[in-house]
């Protein structure tokens, strides 16, 4: 092929590729994806008809009567993503951990109970919707006192909302914090 012909073919192929891969492919996928209902649109959770969050995107819970999520340097601002990327040798990480542990001590009075590591570490996305079941159970005593719900009710709520490993093999068991707090609210009402 001559240079000229090569360039013409390359331009035509780029245009055709734009049609196939940038327009038809994403639209067709979105169309067929409607089979999975709300999932194409971000798995939004509604409460009394109002969108209160996405099942997949974590949220910050500050009130005394909710389970707390993991740390997030972006404060669960889902218009962006990504953690602080701190290495273990970075003094900033050591200071952050010390400060958080102090806060946990003040709030939860764990005594001899071990603090689950996921409560004082940041996830990679900084939007992690889950905490470990241990991290949820860790908060039960405190929440029972604050909400007046019995510890056994809270424990069974957590148990209900614990998602197990895939096939019992892959990944880790976890609790979706937003769903857990919504369930907790229902009990309160």
């Amino acid at each position: 092929m001559s240079i000229k012909k090569n360039i013409v073919v390359a331009i035509k192929l780029t245009l055709l590729s734009l049609l196939i891969f940038s327009i038809v492919y994403p639209l067709l996928l979105g169309g067929v994806g409607q089979l999975f209902a709300d999932k194409t649109a971000g798995s939004i959770i509604y409460q009394d008809g109002e969108a209160v969050g996405s099942r997949l995107i974590g949220q910050n819970f500050e009130s005394d009567s909710y389970f707390i999520s993991r740390l997030s340097s972006i404060n669960y601002d889902a218009s962006t993503s990504g953690s602080d990327n701190l290495a273990a040798s970075n003094p900033k990480l050591q200071h952050r951990i010390a400060a958080d542990l102090e806060e946990i001590e003040k709030k939860y009075h764990p005594g001899n109970k071990a603090v689950p590591a996921d409560l004082i570490t940041e996830s990679g996305s900084a939007l992690d919707p889950h905490i470990s079941p241990e991290a949820a159970y860790f908060q039960v005593e405190y929440l029972a006192e604050k909400t007046g719900i019995s510890e056994s009710t809270l424990n069974s709520l957590i148990e209900e909302h614990t998602e197990s490993k895939l096939l019992g093999l892959f990944g880790e068991s976890r609790v979706n914090v937003l769903e857990l707090n919504l369930a907790l609210e229902e009990v309160l009402d």
Binding site: L13, G30, E50, Y66, S79, A98, L101, A117, G124, E172
Partner: protein, 578 residues
């Protein structure tokens, strides 16, 4: 124990997928590679797809006005490839630079600076996908018309090289390697597009959005407004992973719950990430009429893969040192391993598996933050990038592997005093010289820029973490660029003129110079006679050759970089004990 069982199940699934992908890809290019092997009976239903695919392809060929039977020699093949990629480069540069005035930009995002647009265009045409921007700063137009487009076309370009190189080995005293456009279009239409579509649907079923309606605003139960960025994520995620691309829709890449929503999604993505480049090595065995050879090559690389994985998984199962060192009187339960920078649903094992998979296939997507890895944990990804021939990118992975094999055949030939020969082709000084140059290119592209970065202000001010990790960040970034890997220790503030130009240049050289050399080798081999195998021929299928092959890869790939690694992760590992 459960973890070992999980890994066994994962690898069984992986090998099954390699078999299906490999046989399928081999079948696609059966004619182009002059392969005599047929699809196995079990998979013969793929043949039913031939007619519809052929119809589409013929339409495309006639629209482009090319004659599929007109084949190219290595020079013409390279020339077509460069022109096609060059035009794509210009197009991408313009889209990134001017996304502010292009449509589909509901959030009124700014265009990139010229240096960032240069870096981003380089990285996407070369299948590298190193990102100096956060995915959230791209408009829908840029994501679909630049990123998604380039993910298909750069993967297709890589894939198109595998059958051409194989033709060079199959040919006897001939010059034609095939038609670049035919190989490209066949790979796109028959493999990348349909498989991406299926994977995209699986991702949607898991919750990955494919949404065009702009961002979503919710009022949380605490009465706070949360703005959620969303978009056509699933489709891009599928080709990003299948095509060894790795550029995330979001800054957090595959750690983001919209890109990688569930454990099942993570397993599927991890499987196809490994299977697509590995399947091409398997397909190579089919093309040359020696299935066993492909299996053996995959197996040899798998030994190294498992070794690196073990180093990293064992490192990440350990607690984070910053937590151990805390001076409060609380105890922290770190039985889950180092959870800093990791998602709860994946934990340390699936994060480590992904980390080695993404670096050994030059994918570059991350589902956990490598910057926050333990020093031991970060050694695995480093070495996987340094060797640059563990499965590697789609298509080019086979070429890089062959480059090592030629060196290895040559060394073996010298050791036993026989003329080095591979698959009936004599490997002579010309081929070995080019192969050696290709292998030496990586240290040049990695170590020189690293030295420049650590002695200049512009390089040093970008460093995020202090101490040895800071050096690791820079070294990692240069590896990621030079080896066309695209993985990042994301801490480095790399969006500066300095890093954009330095990395962008290394990326382009790291992609196109090896392709140039490898096509020269293919052209050379193509002209040679095929010598029959005799008693005196060096056997490439026995155990001793494999040991030699693995050894050469570890020595060349690993040891060249040992001094640099010693200053980064290894120094950090040693200093931990103090």
């Amino acid at each position: 124990m459960l973890n070992i069982l999980a890994l066994i199940v994962f690898f069984i699934l992986l090998f099954a997928l390699i078999y299906v992908f490999g046989e399928y890809i081999a079948w696609i290019y059966q004619k182009e590679t002059r392969s005599k092997n047929e699809l196995p009976k079990k998979l013969s239903f793929f043949k039913k797809l031939d007619r519809p695919f052929k119809l589409i392809e013929e339409k495309i060929f006639s629209f482009l006005n090319i004659e599929p039977d007109k084949e190219m020699n290595w020079k013409q093949y390279l020339f077509s490839l460069l022109i096609f990629n060059g035009i794509l480069f210009v197009f991408l540069f313009l889209v990134f630079k001017f996304q502010n005035i292009l449509p589909l930009n509901p959030l009124n995002l700014d265009g990139m600076s010229w240096d960032q647009a240069f870096h981003t265009a380089s990285t996407f045409i070369s299948n590298t996908n190193q990102q100096h921007y956060g995915g959230e700063t791209l408009s829908y137009f840029s994501q679909l018309f630049a990123v998604c487009l380039a993910m298909f076309l750069s993967a297709g370009t890589g894939l198109a090289l595998a059958p051409a190189f194989t033709r060079g080995i199959q040919n006897e005293e001939a010059t034609k390697l095939g038609n670049f456009y035919v190989n490209l279009i066949k790979g796109l239409i028959r493999f990348l597009l349909p498989v991406s579509f299926i994977v995209g649907l699986i991702l949607i079923s898991q919750g990955s959005p494919q949404w065009f309606g702009g961002e979503i605003v919710v009022n949380t139960i605490e009465g706070v407004k949360q703005v959620i960025r969303i978009g056509p994520v699933a489709g891009i995620e599928a080709i990003k992973t299948l095509g060894t691309n790795g550029g995330g829709y979001f800054a957090a890449n595959a750690a983001h719950p919209f890109e990688n929503p569930t454990i099942l999604a993570n397993i599927v993505l991890n499987l196809i990430m490994l299977a697509s480049p590995m399947a091409i090595i398997y397909a190579f065995g089919i093309w040359i009429g020696k299935r066993r050879h492909g299996v053996i090559l995959i197996g040899a690389l798998f030994v190294i893969f498992l070794g690196l994985f073990w180093v990293t998984a064992a490192g990440e199962a350990q607690p984070n040192r910053a937590i151990i060192m805390n001076e409060t009187n609380l105890t922290v339960d770190q039985s889950a391993g180092n959870m800093e920078g990791k998602e709860t649903r994946f934990g340390s094992l699936l994060s480590s598996l992904w980390a080695i998979s993404t670096t050994s296939t030059t994918n570059g997507a991350v589902n956990s933050m490598h910057n926050s890895y333990t020093p031991q944990g970060s050694v695995g990804p480093f070495l996987a990038m340094a060797m640059n021939c563990l499965y590697n990118g789609i298509g080019v992975g086979l070429l890089n592997l062959m480059t090592y094999i030629f060196i290895c055949v040559f060394i073996a030939g010298l050791m036993i005093g026989r003329a080095p020969q591979y698959l009936g082709k004599q490997i002579e000084w010309r081929e070995v010289k080019i192969a050696a140059l290709i292998i030496l290119l990586l240290p040049v592209l990695v170590l020189f820029p690293t030295s420049i970065a650590v002695i200049t202000e512009a390089g040093k001010e970008a460093i995020h973490n202090p101490g040895f990790t800071g050096f690791s960040e820079v070294l990692y970034e240069m590896f990621s660029a030079g080896a066309n890997n695209g993985s990042g220790m994301e801490g480095l503030m790399d969006n500066s003129v300095f890093y954009n130009l330095l990395n962008g240049g290394a990326i382009l050289m790291g992609r196109y110079l090896p392709i140039f050399g490898q096509l020269v080798i293919a052209g050379n081999l193509s002209k040679k006679k095929i010598r029959p195998e005799t008693e005196g021929t060096l056997k490439v299928e026995n155990l001793s050759f494999l040991v030699l092959f693995v050894g050469v890869m570890i020595i060349i790939g690993g040891l060249i970089f040992m001094p640099a690694l010693a200053v980064g992760p290894i120094a950090e590992m040693l200093s931990e004990g103090m």
